[in-house]
């Protein structure tokens, strides 16, 4: 039962073949069976979830139909939930309980979802492996000695291991798509502004975006319908029409143009990854899509521009953790300045401190123009690259990562190598465009999933969903069963 998608669960629930209580119990039984190995969650919300499931069953009995009624969903632990902890996998927020719900949580509740728990992540979403968590490290369910990716590694691992039916993550520089790729699930970063960030703990405000991590593209469409749309609480949420994304599941892709950016295929990928991505592209051709070569000439500069901008914004956003308003306060202080410094030194993990230092430096007097301004100018060039490329095609196809999930500890001592794990995903955040990762193969012998990335025009998630869904109808990579 725990293996169902949202679409399947809805059918079972509304045809009364299964109750939400049974489904939620099955999900928790699965969690009890595999969580020792996977460690996908930061903390569970078992009692509340069972209550929500009971309410959902009584509403189903009354004939109510809501898109997620009775469906167990997990949330990345930086999405605020009123009355339950939101830790950001940081010591500094370990006991933090938000006084309000994030807008996406209110929307999930209104759609009838059952929230099973909060998933593990890299501290403040800073990391690509889930090894920067104050709780524990999450394992990749496909290979327990490998990372699930990050920073939404807990959400991706939980979906892959069937510890929830679907999850929400957040993507600032690949943090939904990279773990989705590593864990063999579907991950959608919507257009910047599509989903409200109200109640999402801020990392880099001009890049952060909440999105679905699911077992299928169809499920991602259902979730985006629920969480998307203008929100008065977030002035950067875009006032644009919200289409019914499930309609895109019926759309044909014949004759659509698929852009292949030549800079992504210059030998940077492991051969088996490149093979799977190329085969994925051939599958899309066989479905009637027409490939065209496009160019994204500034790809090589994306990681550098990203780390300037993201760290600058992070150093500003994280200045709020001062030991006064919420979270941890160091007990070892005799004056206010001491208290700030000790609290932040003891409360933040190493990667967070590293990024605060880098961000403070690039914004500091004398370096602002050389680094921060330069980064923002290069961001313009990258954004223009995508605008030009997407004039020649409807959707761009590219790899998600240069390699499959790497071993635990492998990149922990080399921050730059860890940053480069996001080389193919980061530019979509800088440009603000929607991008999706779907499973497109496995590295043979090791049974490690490989992801295919689809990127589109601003607010054109519908075409990504149409192409991704047709791909999943023609392939079975997204339904392969795990070894556990």
């Amino acid at each position: 039962m725990h293996r169902t998608t949202i679409t399947q669960a809805r059918e079972l629930l509304h045809s009364k073949k299964l109750s939400s209580v049974q489904l939620t119990e099955a999900v928790f039984a699965r969690i009890d069976a595999v969580e020792d190995k996977v460690k996908a969650f930061a903390h569970l919300m078992r009692e509340k979830a069972m209550e929500q499931a009971k309410v959902a069953d009584s509403r189903i009995a009354k004939g109510e139909e809501l898109p997620l009624l009775g469906v167990p969903i997990a949330l990345k632990d930086l999405i605020c939930t009123k009355g339950s902890r939101t830790t950001c996998a940081s010591k500094i927020l370990d006991q933090f309980v938000a006084p309000y719900n994030a807008t996406v949580v209110n929307r999930l509740n209104a759609a009838g979802a059952v929230i099973v728990g909060k998933t593990n992540m890299d501290e403040f979403a800073m990391g690509s492996s889930n090894e920067n968590s104050s709780h524990h490290t999450t394992m990749n369910p496909w290979a327990l000695d490998r990372v699930p990716g990050g920073s939404s590694g807990g959400s991706a691992a939980a979906v892959a291991a069937h510890e929830c039916i679907a999850a929400l993550g957040s993507d600032t520089g690949g943090s939904i798509r990279q773990p989705a790729g590593f864990c063999g699930v579907t991950g959608l970063k919507p257009t910047y502004g599509r989903v409200s960030r109200f109640g999402l703990v801020a990392f880099a405000s001009s890049l952060d975006q909440i999105g679905p991590i699911t077992k299928s593209v169809a499920d991602a469409a259902t979730l985006l319908n629920v969480i998307g749309g203008k929100d008065g609480q977030d002035s950067t949420s875009a006032d644009v029409p919200l289409p019914d994304f499930t309609k895109a599941l019926q759309q044909d892709v014949k004759g659509m143009k698929l852009g292949i950016p030549k800079e992504y295929f210059t030998g940077g990928m492991q051969p088996e990854v490149e093979k799977a991505v190329q085969e994925g592209i051939r599958t899309l051709e066989s479905l009637g899509m027409q490939t065209v070569e496009v160019s994204l000439p500034h790809l090589d500069y994306a990681v550098a521009a990203y780390y300037i901008i993201a760290c600058a914004e992070a150093s500003t956003n994280l200045s709020r953790y001062d030991g006064v308003k919420y979270g941890y306060r160091s007990p070892n202080s005799d004056n206010l300045i001491n208290m700030y410094e000790n609290t932040r030194e003891e409360g933040f993990g190493e990667e967070v401190k590293r990024r605060i230092i880098l961000g403070t430096f690039v914004l500091s007097s004398g370096y602002y123009d050389a680094y921060y301004l330069k980064g923002q100018q290069v961001r313009t060039l990258i954004k223009q690259d995508f605008e030009n490329a997407l004039e020649k095609c409807d959707v761009i196809a590219a790899p998600v990562t240069p390699y499959p999930a790497f071993k635990l500890g492998e990149k922990l001592d080399d921050p730059l190598q860890m940053y480069l794990a996001d080389i193919y995903t980061i530019s979509a955040n800088l440009a603000g465009i929607p991008a999706m990762s779907i499973p497109c193969g496995f590295v043979s012998g090791e049974n490690l999933p490989v992801g295919l990335q689809l990127m589109g025009k601003h607010f054109d998630e519908a075409n990504l969903i149409a192409v991704g869904h047709k791909f999943q109808q023609a392939t079975s990579f997204h339904t392969q069963q795990l070894p556990i």
Binding site: M339, R344, T380, L416
Partner: protein
Amino acid sequence: MDIENVAKLARLKLTDAEKERFSTQMGTIIEYIEKLNELDTKDVEPTAHVLGLNNVFRDDVATEPLTDQAPINDSPAHSKGHYEVPKII
């Protein structure tokens, strides 16, 4: 990078081991990000925000606010509805 000065600006009290490790790592990272200097950006406008938003207004409609006490309850030290901090002067 003058790591001590930057740490002071960021209100981080780093240990000696952290200062040493971060100095080396920052050197590598800054060398990497300096590859942006290969690009001529003289006439390029900076992008702070992809949607190009300016001021966003909404109708002035009252909604249910948080109680004054709700956020203060999250403070690690508070009394009588106020935040408590160590002595400032």
